[in-house]
Structure formats: structure tokens, C-alpha cells
Amino acid sequence: MATQTQFHVLAVDDSLIDRKLIERLLKTSSYQVTAVDSGSKALEFLGLNGENEDEERNSSVESVSAADEDHQVGVNLIITDYCMPGMTGYDLLRKIKQSSSFKDIPVVIMSSENIPSRINRCLEDGAEEFFLKPVKLSDVNKLRPHLMKGITTKNEMQSNTNKRKGSEEIQSPDRTRPRYNELEVV
């Protein structure tokens, strides 16, 4: 049996229609998806709770929190809308980047407004990508390198004994290439 680990994406959007759309886009791309309707619900899911209890009262429960005693939830990427009541996508980005447990999770922002200053601020503060809505399959295809990078970084840290000289590309099948031990690369 192939041991293919599915990437898990946490999608955050206050619009039900946009949540349905992003969920379908991600599932079509074979990602596991959890969709929530607010930043505070997202933090709750990740186990970064304790704040913004007022907002939780207004948000409907769309998904059950997977964070119990083991507060390390297996989320590989977070994709969030920018404009949301209460906590914006930018606020969520900042909170994630400030968290020691989750700062390395790639965050992608979506917005219906094309405002360069907004886009730049998000990218400067750690967002990997900024998608203009409506989000398409071609946008979702851009997520894969960010997800793969997470695996690569982990493996490179495990097998970092090699020191490379010069700028030659080493293609030999030895320890210099990242190994995808746990993951079958399609």
C-alpha cells in the first residue's frame, strides 16, 4: 500500500460561498481541507486559544477543533481571506508568525481588492502568496511548492552533513538530494 501523506490545508473565510469554492479547489488538488469562518476559529483549531472569545460567539461552528492535549495539529498550509469581521486575514497572519509552534507554516492571503499597499504589507510580513479573488485552480497549483518546501527543509536538516563546493548542480542519487521518506511524490 502506498504511504502517501496528504497535505492538510486550513482555509479561513467568512463567506460561505467562498469557503465552498476554496474547499472544492483544494480537494480537487487532493489536499485534505478544514474550513473555518473566522480567524479566531482558525486559532482555536490550531490550539492557539485564549483570545477573542467575543468573536467566537458570532461565528458558526463549521469544523470541530482537532487540537486537544496534543496541540500540534497537522496543518501544512493556511489560506485565509483578508477582509473578515473581527480578526482580519492580516491579523491572523501576524498571530501565526508570532507563534513559535506555527510560524513556519506557510500562509497565503486571498482578497477581492487589488490594493498594492495591502498586498505588499502581507508579503513583507510573511505571507507566501497573495491571491486575488475569485480564486482559480491555477492559483491553487501555486501552493504545492510552498508545501513541498516544508518537507524539503525538514529532510535537509536531517541530512545536512554534505558540504557542496562551487555552483555545480549535483544530480547524483546520494545524500545531497532531499529524500522524501515519508512522502510519495506524485
Binding site: 463567506s15 460561498i17 467562498d18 475569485p134 480564486v135 485552480l137
Partner: protein, 185 residues
Amino acid sequence: MDFVNQLQRKFIDYSSSLHREGIVDDQFTQLRKLEDENSPHFVMEVASLFFEDCEKLINNMAIALEQKQGVDFKQIEECIHQLKGSSSSIGAMRVKNACIAFRSFSGAQNREGCLRCLQQLSHEYSLLKNKLQTLFRVSVASRCLYVCLVIFCRGNEHAEPFPDVLVFQLEKQIVAAGGSIPRVH
């Protein structure tokens, strides 16, 4: 048999006309591509959610514009923002454009202008709803017919090759029209 071809042609023509008339744009095509055997009714489901959302927002705006003590234009702008977003996501181009026009009048706090825009918006929404519901009816009818034909062919061991060819043609037409083949077990 000819009826089947006619039905398929009707579906394709109707679908094209929706694009030509600007009722839907490329985003709608993108949604259709996301349908597969795991999610064969995705577009219909999202469209239903959109209809509910749209009706609620139009209603809220109508009430807000009727307020004698003063119109809450901020609330109207929020409704427009929501509706513009969801219509854009589903590919409802004319509804989206109606929202954009509406936004400038609400920004200018022009009540009369807003009332006219709301009327236009309602009109575009009704048009979209009627057209999409017709499209879905034809789509469902085609798929039902396809399923019946497949069951007929499989159940009939003495079936002529002709029905198989017909089934294959119908399959091709469904895919060409952007639909997905229903799985028949």
C-alpha cells in the same frame, strides 16, 4: 435517438448563450470544471447558496433604503461588498457589475440612485436565477437519460451496437458541454 441529440444540443447552445449574454463569465466555467464523480452537483449547490444569499442581501438593502429616519449607507455598502464578492466567485458577471454601479451611488449617499440600482440588481438576479435553473434542469435531464441508456444497454445482452455508439456520443457531448459523466454501477 434524435431527441437525445436535440437535448444535448439545447444544453450546449443554452450554456453558450449564457456566456454570450454576459450572464456568466469565465469563473462559471471554472466552477463547472471542478465537478467530478465525487462532486457531481457542485455548481448547483453553490448556485443555490448564492440565490439564498442574494435574496437575503437584496431584502436587507430594500429595508435599509426604506428607513424614514435615515438610511444606513454603511450597512448597504457592506451588503454590496458581500454580494459583489459572492457573485464574482460564482461567475455571475451581470450581478457583479450591478453591484459595482450600486457601490458608487451608496458611496455618494444618493438614496434615489440606490433605489434604482437595487431595482436593476433585482432584475439581474431574477434573470440569472431563471437561466441557471433552466440550465440545471436540462443538465439533469441529460444525465438521467444517459443513465437510463446505460442501464438499458447493459441489461440487454442482445442490444445492437448502435445504442452503445449512442451512449458514447452522449458521453462525449456531456463532457464537451463541460459536464461530468455520472457513474452507473
